[in-house]
C-alpha cells in the first residue's frame, strides 16, 4: 500500500504542473477565499468583542443584581439591603472575579452657569476599581480613596458642558429614598475620560456619601459582578440567581439586548460569508478537477489498459486534489494571518468611529489571530474540497478503457 502511494504521489504532483497556469490560478482562488474568510472573520469577531467590551465597561459588568422592579422603574424605591449570607457566599465564589455594590439615582447637576440631567453612581472605591473602568480613567485630579471619601468625579464632556474646573463645586439635586428632594453641594475632585455616553451622564460619588445624601442608610441599588471568563457568565448568573431567589439577577445579554444583537449579526455575517466563499471555491475546484479528468480520459484509459487498477487511479486523482488544496489553503491562511497580525496594533476607524460607536463597537478594533478558528476553517476547507473531488475521481476511474482509447478525441 505504502509502495503504491510513493509510486503514485510523485505522478500526481507532476500531473498538477502539466497545467501550471491552471493549477496556480485554482490555488490562488482557494487561497484568496481562505484568506478573505479569515480576515473578515477576525474583523467581525473583533467587532463583536469590542461591542462586548464596551458594554461591560459601560458599568454593566458581566451582570447585575437588583431588587425586583428596579429594571422597569430605576428609582431608589427599589433598593436592597446588604447581601444576605447566602448571596455573599455565592458572590465570593472563586468563579467570580469581582463584585461591587452601587447606589444608582437620576439627578440634576448644576454649576454656576449650566445644568444637566445625570445618573449618579455611588461606588465603593476599592471594589469598583477591580470591576469597572473609572479608577483607571481619571485624567485630572484623583480617584476616591475610601467609601467614606467626599467629592465627585465628573466626565470630561460634562465638565465642558457645565463649564466647571477641578476644585469647583457643583450641586446635585435628586429625589431621596423618602421621595423628598435632596440637594448636596460637592467639590469636583476628579475628571475622567471614557465612552462619550458615560462622560456626559455618569457622575461618581463615594458610596457612603451617596447613601447619606439619598437617605439610603446601608442599602444599595445594584450589585455588579464580573465572572473570571466570558464563558462562565451564564453559569455564574444561574448560581447567583439560586442564591438570591427574591432578587432580580440578569447577565449582560439580558441587560443589553442591543449588544447581544450586534454579536449575533457579526456571527451571522461570518457564517454567511464562510458559506458563500466556500461554495465559490468548491464550484471552481470541482469544475477544474472535472476538466482535468475529462481532458485526460484517453490517458486514464491507456493506464488502465496497461494494468493500473481503478482504485489507484482514484487515489491518484484524490492526491492531485490534496496537493492542490492543502498548499493553497495553508498559504491562504498564512496571508490571512499576516494581514490580521499587521492590524494587531489596532485598526483605527477614524471618522467612521462615530458610526462604529453607534453600532456598539469602539473607535479602534483589535483583530485577533485565533489559531483554533483558523485550524478549524482550514480543516473544513480541505476536508470538503477533498470530498468534492470524489465525484470527478470516481467518474475517471469508472470509464471503460477500450471505449476511451478508441475514441481519438474526447
Amino acid at each position: 500500500m505504502m509502495k503504491t502511494f510513493f509510486l503514485i504521489a510523485p505522478i500526481a504532483w507532476r500531473n498538477l504542473w502539466r497545467r501550471g497556469t491552471r493549477t496556480v490560478l485554482t490555488m490562488v482562488t482557494v487561497a484568496l477565499a481562505v484568506a478573505s474568510m479569515m480576515i473578515l472573520g477576525s474583523f467581525m469577531r473583533s467587532w463583536g468583542q469590542s461591542a462586548f467590551d464596551r458594554t461591560v465597561a459601560a458599568m454593566n459588568a458581566h451582570g447585575q443584581i437588583h431588587a425586583r422592579g428596579f429594571m422597569d422603574d430605576p428609582t431608589l424605591e427599589y433598593s436592597m439591603p446588604p447581601p444576605s449570607t447566602a448571596l455573599l457566599q455565592a458572590l465570593n465564589n472563586p468563579s467570580i472575579k469581582a463584585w461591587a455594590p452601587r447606589v444608582v439615582a437620576s439627578a440634576m447637576v448644576r454649576s454656576e452657569r449650566e445644568s444637566a440631567p445625570v445618573r449618579v453612581y455611588g461606588i465603593n472605591p476599592q471594589r469598583e476599581a477591580r470591576l469597572s473602568f473609572v479608577s483607571k480613567a481619571v485624567a485630572q485630579g484623583r480617584y476616591f480613596t475610601e467609601p467614606a471619601d467626599s467629592g465627585v468625579l465628573l466626565g470630561r464632556l460634562l465638565v465642558d458642558r457645565l463649564q466647571v474646573k477641578l476644585g469647583h463645586r457643583v450641586v446635585l439635586t435628586a429625589q431621596d429614598a423618602k421621595g423628598d428632594i435632596a440637594e448636596i453641594g460637592v467639590k469636583v475632585i476628579g475628571i475622567y475620560q471614557g465612552q462619550p455616553e458615560l462622560e456626559k451622564f455618569a457622575v461618581y460619588l463615594p458610596i457612603t456619601q451617596a447613601q447619606t445624601f439619598l437617605g439610603l442608610d446601608r442599602r444599595s441599588s445594584e450589585i455588579a459582578y464580573l465572572a473570571n471568563r466570558r464563558e462562565q457568565v451564564s453559569s455564574v448568573t444561574a448560581m447567583l440567581r439560586a442564591a438570591a431567589p427574591d432578587l432580580d439577577v440578569r447577565s449582560w445579554s439580558e441587560l443589553q439586548p442591543f449588544t447581544r444583537a450586534i454579536i449575533e449579526i457579526t456571527d451571522n455575517t461570518n457564517a454567511i460569508w464562510g458559506f458563500v466563499s466556500f461554495a465559490l471555491v468548491a464550484f471552481g475546484l470541482v469544475n477544474t478537477l472535472l476538466m482535468a479528468v475529462y481532458e485526460r480520459l484517453r490517458e486514464f484509459g491507456l493506464l488502465q489498459a496497461l494494468g493500473m487498477k481503478p482504485a489507484w487511479l482514484l487515489m491518484q486523482i484524490m492526491l492531485e486534489s490534496c496537493f492542490l488544496v492543502i498548499p493553497a489553503t495553508l498559504s491562504g491562511a498564512v496571508v490571512g494571518a499576516a494581514v490580521i497580525l499587521s492590524f494587531s496594533d489596532g485598526l483605527n476607524l477614524g471618522s467612521w468611529g462615530a458610526g462604529a460607536r453607534m453600532i456598539g463597537a469602539s473607535q479602534v478594533l483589535y483583530p485577533q489571530f485565533d489559531l483554533r478558528q483558523t485550524g478549524i476553517a482550514c480543516a473544513v476547507v480541505i476536508g470538503l474540497s477533498i470530498l468534492a473531488s470524489i465525484y470527478p475521481a470516481v467518474r475517471a476511474a469508472r470509464r471503460v478503457p477500450v471505449d476511451v482509447i478508441t475514441r481519438a478525441q474526447v
Binding site: P117, S277, N287, L349, G353
Partner: protein
C-alpha cells in the same frame, strides 16, 4: 459568422457552460440583492432618524451642537427671516428652544430635556405630534407632553401636574407648573426616557428667552434635492452671522457614519467576491481555449489568422458573461422586487433597528444604481479576464500546437 461560431463553441461543452453561467448569475444576484437591501435600509434609517425629531437640517449658533448651553441662542432678526423667506416653496422651517430641567410629580423627580415647540407647526418637521399614544398633543398654554418611559418613571397620568425646575437664560431659577396633555412613544429609548415638549411661548416666558431661539429646524419631508439646495442657500445667506446650518450628517453623525461604515465594508466584501469568481471562471476560460490547442493549430495551419481565432474566443467569453449577467439581473431584480413589496423581516436583531427608530422589516430598494453597478463590474472583470486566453492564442506555435493532445 464569428457570433454563430462562438455561440456553437459555447455549447460544445454544455455542462461547463451551464456551470459557468450559474456561477455568474448567482454572483450577480448577490451583488444586486444585497446592495439593494443595504440601500433600502439606509433610506429607512435616514427617513426615520430625520423625520422623528431632528429634521433634515437645523440653523443654530456655531457651538450649540457640541455644547447645548442656554446662552447659545439667537434672535430671528431681519437677516435670518429674509434668508428663510428666500427658500424654495415646500421647505418647512420651524423654531425650537431647548433646555434641561428637573421634573417633579407628586412622587418622583427626574431630569429631562425640555423642548419648546410651535405646537401648530411642529408636525411639519417631526413625527412626535403623531406618536401620541394617550391624550393629545399640546393645545393649551400650560400643557406638556412626555415620553412614555419618562411618564411611567415619574408616575404621572394625563391631566396631572408636574413641576419644572430649571435654570433660565439669564441665570435665574426657572420654575413652572404644567399639566400633562399627552404621552408619546418613539421607540427610541433615549427620547422616550428624556424628552418633554412644551409650547414655545411658555418656554420663552419660563426660561426668559426674550424671543430668542436655539434652533430653526428644516423639515425633511420634501424632495432631497430641494433640501440640499435649501441648505446651500441658507449657508450662503447666513455666513458672517455666527449662525451655521447643520445638515443631518452632522445632527445624526452616528447614523451617517454607520451608513458609511456599512457601505465601505459592503463594497470590500463584494470586491473580494467578484475577484474570487473571476479567478475561478478565468480558469474555465483558459481551459476551454487550451483544450482546443490542437484544433486552433490546425485552423491556423489552414490559414485562419490568429486575430480571427482570438475574436472568436473572446466573443465566446463576452457571450457567456453577457448571458450570465443578464440571467443574474433578471433573477436578481425579480427577487429584489418581490422583497421590496413584501419586505424582509429580521426578528432576531430587532434591538439594533430600534436603536435607529426603525421597524425590523426592511424593504430592499431596486434603483438603476443597485441593479446595474454590481453586474457591470462582474461582466467587466470577466470580459477583461477573457483577454488572457486570447493573448495566449497569439503566441501559439502552429506545429507544436498541432502535435499537442
Amino acid at each position: 459568422m464569428i457570433l454563430s461560431l462562438a455561440w456553437r463553441n459555447l455549447w460544445r461543452r454544455r455542462r461547463r457552460t451551464i456551470a459557468s453561467l450559474t456561477a455568474i448569475a448567482l454572483t450577480c444576484v448577490i451583488v444586486i440583492f444585497l446592495p439593494a437591501l443595504q440601500s433600502g435600509s439606509y433610506g429607512a434609517m435616514i427617513r426615520s432618524a430625520n423625520g422623528l425629531l431632528d429634521g433634515y437640517a437645523q440653523i443654530q449658533r456655531r457651538d450649540f451642537l457640541d455644547k447645548p448651553a442656554m446662552r447659545l441662542s439667537f434672535s430671528v432678526n431681519k437677516t435670518v427671516s429674509s434668508a428663510i423667506a428666500e427658500l424654495p416653496a415646500g421647505v418647512q422651517v420651524v423654531p425650537r428652544d431647548i433646555s434641561y430641567a428637573l421634573l417633579s410629580s407628586r412622587k418622583r423627580s427626574l431630569g429631562a430635556q425640555v423642548m419648546g415647540v410651535n405646537a401648530e407647526l411642529e408636525n411639519r418637521v417631526s413625527t412626535i405630534p403623531g406618536r401620541i399614544i394617550s391624550g393629545q398633543y399640546l393645545h393649551a398654554d400650560n400643557h406638556i407632553v412626555l415620553g412614555d418611559a419618562l411618564a411611567r418613571n415619574l408616575q404621572v397620568n394625563l391631566g396631572e401636574t408636574v413641576d419644572m425646575l430649571g435654570m433660565a437664560r439669564d441665570g435665574s431659577l426657572a420654575v413652572d407648573v404644567l399639566t400633562v396633555a399627552g404621552i408619546f412613544r418613539t421607540g427610541m429609548r433615549e427620547l422616550d426616557r428624556q424628552l418633554v415638549q412644551i409650547k414655545l411661548a411658555r418656554f420663552d416666558q419660563t426660561f426668559a428667552m426674550q424671543g430668542q431661539r436655539h434652533a430653526l429646524v428644516i423639515g425633511s419631508n420634501t424632495d432631497a434635492a430641494l433640501l440640499h439646495q435649501a441648505v446651500t442657500t441658507l449657508e450662503r445667506s447666513l455666513s458672517g452671522t455666527g449662525l451655521v446650518v447643520h445638515d443631518w450628517k452632522k445632527l445624526q453623525a452616528g447614523v451617517y457614519y454607520s451608513i458609511q461604515l456599512d457601505m465601505v465594508s459592503g463594497i470590500f466584501m463584494y470586491l473580494i467576491l467578484i475577484v474570487i469568481v473571476t479567478a475561478s471562471l478565468l480558469n474555465n476560460m483558459m481551459m476551454s481555449a487550451m483544450e482546443r490547442t490542437r484544433e486552433f493549430g490546425m485552423m491556423m495551419a489552414l490559414g485562419v489568422k490568429p486575430g480571427l481565432l482570438g475574436r472568436i474566443v473572446w466573443t465566446e467569453i463576452v457571450l457567456m458573461s453577457g448571458l450570465g449577467t443578464l440571467l443574474g439581473m433578471l433573477l436578481g431584480s425579480a427577487i429584489t422586487l418581490w422583497y421590496s413589496v413584501n419586505g424582509l423581516h429580521f426578528e432576531s436583531v430587532q434591538a439594533v433597528f430600534e436603536q435607529f427608530g426603525m421597524s425590523s422589516t426592511l424593504y430592499p430598494e431596486l434603483t438603476p444604481l443597485t441593479l446595474l453597478a454590481g453586474p457591470a463590474v462582474v461582466a467587466g472583470s470577466l470580459i477583461l479576464a477573457g483577454l488572457a486566453p486570447v493573448y495566449r492564442l497569439f503566441h501559439l506555435q502552429i506545429i507544436a500546437a498541432m502535435r499537442s493532445v
